[in-house]
């Protein structure tokens, strides 16, 4: 009896939830998805908060004019726990039930790849934030018609890291420690090694661990024995902090280097002195005057600092609004077409979408050094 009541209540709630969003003529629905729960929740919440904040601001300023008519923007966001299967569910829901005209996110490449066939079926474009795997937008040499992104890709990031380590830091012998069970880490490792060796450097140690490991001493000891000039650590801040601390305990004094998985407040608080003097490749310079305004607005509204993803989803919104204005009508197809010829100035740099790859062309990477517990911008660095 009671169970039946609960089931009935759930069904009613679902029915209400699914028909609650009455369609209004002057509202454009934009989907967002990412991890609001799970180990990637920090970034997911940061992205969704940014999207909501920007939409509020845009609406307060009169909305977006599409084809001579003013529309307000509405964000419809769902959690997928960073899970690929749920990513597919969520995008099916966004496109068929919520009828969004575009989707923002996700941050993970493994979630951005399987949604492509659904986007194509529904003719709704997606702008990924920090999904850096090349296969997110291009597969088997063919560009996916409805997948776009605002970040540079892993081969480029790997080339930047290798180039900077070799040319600027003068490293000739590099060691790599990476997360074998993580797609992002494997990709970045591969492209770093490829480029570092092309430059004439030697990779003297190539050690791996798997997600969830907390002890890196065996691998670090092997790396120490090879006495490299630099240690490349292409994984996320939590493991970076742990492995950096253990490396210092083992007496490894070399410079550590990483990619865009590093930047987080957590890295400094957990890593402390261990990551002092280390470098990483980033999408932007945090002290750039272009980003200061967004940073301050976010801090004021939510009371916490924004993470890296916020900047990129900010530019995804900029890109989308620009495409909407030029699309002539608020439909997925028209927006996708407009996105192909987009050329806007975002806070992370100029975003000129290449029609062949749907990636932003020639976006420079920023090299950041950790000095005194602060992220200090070194230079914009472009790999050839």
């Amino acid at each position: 009896m009671r169970i039946r009541n609960i089931v009935a209540a759930a069904v009613v709630a679902l029915a209400l939830a699914s028909c609650g969003g009455e369609k209004q003529a002057d509202v454009i629905k934009v989907g967002w998805f990412g991890a609001l729960t799970g180990d990637q929740a920090v970034w997911g919440n940061n992205e969704f908060n940014t999207v909501k904040m920007l939409f509020e601001e845009i609406n307060a300023a009169g909305g977006v004019t599409v084809g001579g008519k003013a529309y307000t923007l509405e964000a419809v966001g769902y959690d997928n726990k960073g899970d690929a299967q749920e990513a597919v569910n969520v995008v099916r829901r966004l496109t068929s039930q919520d009828k969004v005209v575009a989707v923002l996110g996700p941050n993970a490449s493994g979630n951005a790849i399987p949604i492509a066939p659904i986007l194509e079926g529904a003719k709704v474009p997606d702008i990924a934030t920090v999904a850096t795997n090349p296969k997110v937008t291009v597969l088997d040499g063919k560009v996916k018609p409805y997948n776009f992104r605002v970040c540079f890709i892993d081969p480029y990031q790997g080339a930047v890291a290798a180039g900077y380590a070799f040319d600027v830091l003068g490293a000739r012998r590099a060691a790599v420690l990476y997360d074998v069970s993580d797609d992002y880490s494997q990709g970045l490792r591969e492209f770093f090694i490829e480029n570092f060796e092309k430059k004439g450097g030697a990779v003297v140690a190539d050690e791996s661990f798997k997600s969830g490991d907390v002890d890196f001493r065996p691998q670090l000891s092997k790396i120490k024995a090879q006495n490299p000039d630099i240690i490349f650590m292409p994984y996320f801040f939590k493991e970076v902090a742990l492995s950096a601390n253990q490396a210092r305990e083992l007496g490894i004094t070399q410079v550590l280097m990483g990619g865009d998985g590093w930047p987080s407040d957590q890295l400094i608080s957990m890593g402390g002195a261990a990551v002092e003097g280390c470098y990483f490749v980033n999408h932007l310079d945090y002290e750039d005057p272009d980003v200061a305004d967004y940073k301050a607005r976010y801090l004021k509204k939510y009371g916490i600092e924004t993470e890296l993803n916020g900047y990129l989803v900010h530019d995804a919104v900029v890109l989308l609004v620009d495409a909407l204005k030029r699309a002539g009508e608020p439909s997925g197809e028209a927006i996708a077409k407009a996105l192909e010829s987009a050329d806007v100035k975002g806070i992370t740099g100029r975003i000129k979408i290449s029609p062949q790859t749907h990636n932003p062309e020639g976006k420079d990477a920023a090299i950041i050094k950790i000095v005194g517990g602060k992220y200090i911008f070194q230079q914009k660095y472009a790999a050839e």
């Binding site: 039946r4 679902l14 729960t37 959690d79 099916r92 399987p114 795997n133 797609d183 798997k210």
Partner: protein, 311 residues
Amino acid sequence: MSSYIEGILMLSGINLIAVLGLSLLTGFAGLFSFGHAGFMAIGAYSAAVCTKLLGLPFVAAIAAAALVAAGVSWLIGRATLKLKGDYFCIATLGFGEAIRLILDNFQGLGGARGWPGIPPRTTLLNILILDVIGVVLLANLVRSRHGRNMIAVREEELAAKVAGIDTFRYKMLALVISAAYAGVAGALLGHYMTFIQPKMFSMVKSTELTIIVIFGGLGSISGSVLGAVVLTFLPELLRAVDKWRLVVYGLAVIGIMIGRPRGLMGGFELTPKSIRAHFARRREERAIKAGRAAEDGDEALSGEADGKGGL
């Protein structure tokens, strides 16, 4: 039907196939496995090799997935089925993780970055067909002599042995068949997602399958069907409660397990026969109450209301 509902139905159907297999192993032969996602991964990758690299038709890919998964499970079974109870469980856990890590390291099939571009061959129709075949095969198996022997092994291995049942052989049979089911489910999942990544077949997936089997009720095929559909839909239904979704999901599962420790359908089987028997019983009860109602009017009314609610 919106593509959203269709997608979840397809996922339920895919989960169902894996759960049916696990139901045989856990529910009928009494062996717990926390490595079935490993067999799904084997199925998914072998099927993808068939369609994407060898250009074989989907039917052949599904058959290959079942065969390869069954073959691997036979090898695993040879090595581990002598282990008793918990030890076997730990061995399967290790197996599942090992498969995932091998795939993570094997760059030929994409490594940890996954393998995109698998042709989208899975449809709701072919899932439904395989679901029906799966249920019919399993229902016939558990009612056969072999099925009864498996149940005997589950209930009391030593006694079964004394009664002359080759317990190792029946445990092996259950393992191989359940692995073949998992392989088919993996093949369908890969061609539904069009992308496979070792991460998709982690221990979480194995535990999810075991939870569905126990939630549905050990030793009940209809329970497994119900469990697979309910637990695949539940997280999506709970999107209304936002970030608390998975908390509520967990609480719901705990609540039902406390309320019904044997699972939704533990021990019961929903067959045409059992449904008829149920209605016959209801009719009988109603007849008795009607008889009583003739005697004293007021009490009977409330009595009948109770009768309706007490399902």
